[in-house]
Symmetry: C2
């Protein structure tokens, strides 16, 4: 159980499995709520702690919360009787956030492996082979969590390589929210494409949408790009239309929390507006996401549950009230972009262009 | 010089001329930087104080800064030698903010009256008639500033009456920034239309865009609508597209800082995005502004100077730093909406529908 899951050069790991001198493992997360002012970490030693970190956005981003939840199931299997503990953990973790499908996907992968190992039933074959005679169910679960984490980074690098081919030399790229290193186990999805273009010498520059209300762009994407040395400029979300009208945006690239079977994309609130603006200005609008984000069980965007979060995210910032007392707010965390507005989806398998409606 | 310019019921005056017991006049402004947390006032006794209040957004909104600058010219005429003082004040005040044409318009109106009274030259006729034998140039200037203030409220009420006819019963109206009481001498332009519809029993409800970076929607429009008792819900700017897609917006109405001769509209950054979204969803997009906002000398939106403001407005929110140190930001304060995206312009003279390109 000593291995750590991944290290991304240049940036501390978004999440990693750590083991102390007494052999006790824990999930260590960058506390993203405290960035960019402070680089601090949260150690989650219990299922409840992992669930809390996901719910309160200490860790966020669809692939990252998937991997975190996978480790959470492993903690459940370790602490609470193997299969029963894994199942109880899965139920708690699945309920933390409703929109990102990677969360359920990762939980189910670990749970299936534990069930398979526990019952000797037909799983995906890997758990059974490696479990063998003596290794505990907790070890099976942890091994699967490690695999999910490693696979995520590999998928992001592959996505970056595919996506970079779509990026012209010197492209001025607009991105929204954080679909970067911090949204994944490492490297990033949308920001991964930008990184790959940068590493390929294409000299992109980035417009970073601040991304109200939780400011993932201003706090997280800006921080990442600074650390990576990629030139970036922060703007309020309201400036995107003006930048496109003045000819200062060559392409838009965002991540995804869930992609329906018909190609509709749920992503951070404000994404849909960018897609409409991009179409109006004839600018390519790309979505970069691992195939685990594609949910065959969701027919269209209309079937995606969009999380509504606390009004206080809108009426307050860092404890400072910005609206008058008693003001009511709405706070949809995501919106849905129809497939027809998406120029292409970039996954680890390649680039697919949805049919236009 | 004792008269105050206007009182709007339900809300304290955005600006008013006050005279103390020794006969000294001053321009008293609501300090809009401190709303909604505190209702405080600034007393401007000098031209420099008025210029500072405009530049630092203690008073903002195209009609309000026009009226404030008119009083500033009157202070210049009073304190610094009549015509020479008025001209010096005009030069200082004209340079405070570049985009709103009402500012130059109001300054020129007062200055022309003072010049006319000083030289006996042909003005617009009113200054000469009322100046007569003995009244000083300062009094002429102040009388014109009072007229500009009173005309603004009358124009807004007329605009409200015209615009309310466009508002269906129970309309869910999205507005951006603050084009209300606080943006004018009283009643408001875009919010004036909402008020008139409310007073006519049409039971509108309002989506208030928070309007980053300076949060005029969250701080000012929310405060006004609360005081007026008009049901309103605050949203982050990024939610507008989602609200339109879910069928929750019946019309959009905004103010304007300058309307070019061809009907292109400069207004708060983010307005253009709303116009593109409204067109995409087939939702009416209205602009409410007094005719003093229409600038015949500006042929098209491309000729409008768009103010760029301090990066700190983007990198900080309510005094809290939200971006990493050293992060570069851009901060265009306005954008330009082409006339073709504007369903109709509502002025004090009526409703005009620009030709579609």
């Amino acid at each position: 159980l000593e291995e750590t899951c991944v290290i991304s050069s240049g940036l501390p790991p978004t999440l990693e499995w750590t083991v102390d001198e007494r052999g006790n493992g824990a999930l260590r997360l960058i506390d993203q709520r405290r960035l960019p002012g402070e680089l601090a970490f949260v150690e989650c030693r219990t299922v409840a702690a992992v669930a809390h970190a996901i719910r309160e956005l200490a860790v966020r981003g669809a692939p990252a919360i998937g991997a975190a939840a996978a480790y959470g199931v492993a903690i459940g299997a370790r602490d609470d009787g193997g299969l029963a503990g894994a199942e109880a953990a899965a139920a708690v973790l699945r309920a933390t956030r409703p929109t990102a499908v990677n969360l359920a996907w990762a939980i189910d992968r670990v749970l299936d492996a534990v069930r398979s190992a526990a019952g000797g039933e037909a799983g995906d074959g890997i758990g059974e082979d490696e479990d063998g005679a003596g290794a505990g169910l907790a070890e099976v679960a942890l091994r699967f969590a490690h695999r999910i984490a490693a696979d995520d980074v590999a998928a992001n690098r592959a996505m970056g390589a595919h996506g970079a081919e779509l990026v012209p030399f010197g492209a001025r790229i607009l991105t929204h929210c954080n679909a970067g290193h911090l949204a994944t186990v490492g490297y990033g999805t949308a920001v991964g494409v930008i990184r790959a273009a940068w590493e390929a010498g294409k000299a992109p520059t980035v417009w970073v949408d601040e991304t109200r209300p939780v400011l993932q762009g201003a706090r997280l994407t800006a921080w990442e790009l600074q650390r990576l040395g990629i030139p970036a400029t922060l703007v309020a979300d309201v400036m995107a239309g003006s930048l496109m009208a003045s000819g200062d945006v060559d392409l838009v690239i965002v991540g995804a929390d869930r992609i329906a079977a018909n190609g509709d994309v749920a992503n951070k609130i404000g994404t849909y507006t960018l897609a409409v603006l991009a179409r109006h200005h004839g600018i390519p609008f790309y979505v970069a996401a691992p195939t685990s984000t594609i949910d065959a069980a969701t027919a269209t965007g209309a079937d995606i549950v969009v999380e509504e979060r606390d009004q206080a995210e809108v009426t307050e910032l860092a404890g400072v009230r910005i609206a008058p007392a008693g003001m009511v707010a709405r706070n949809r965390a995501f919106d849905v972009t129809p497939a027809a507005l998406v120029t292409a989806v970039i996954t680890e398998r390649g680039v697919t262009r949805p049919p236009r409606s």
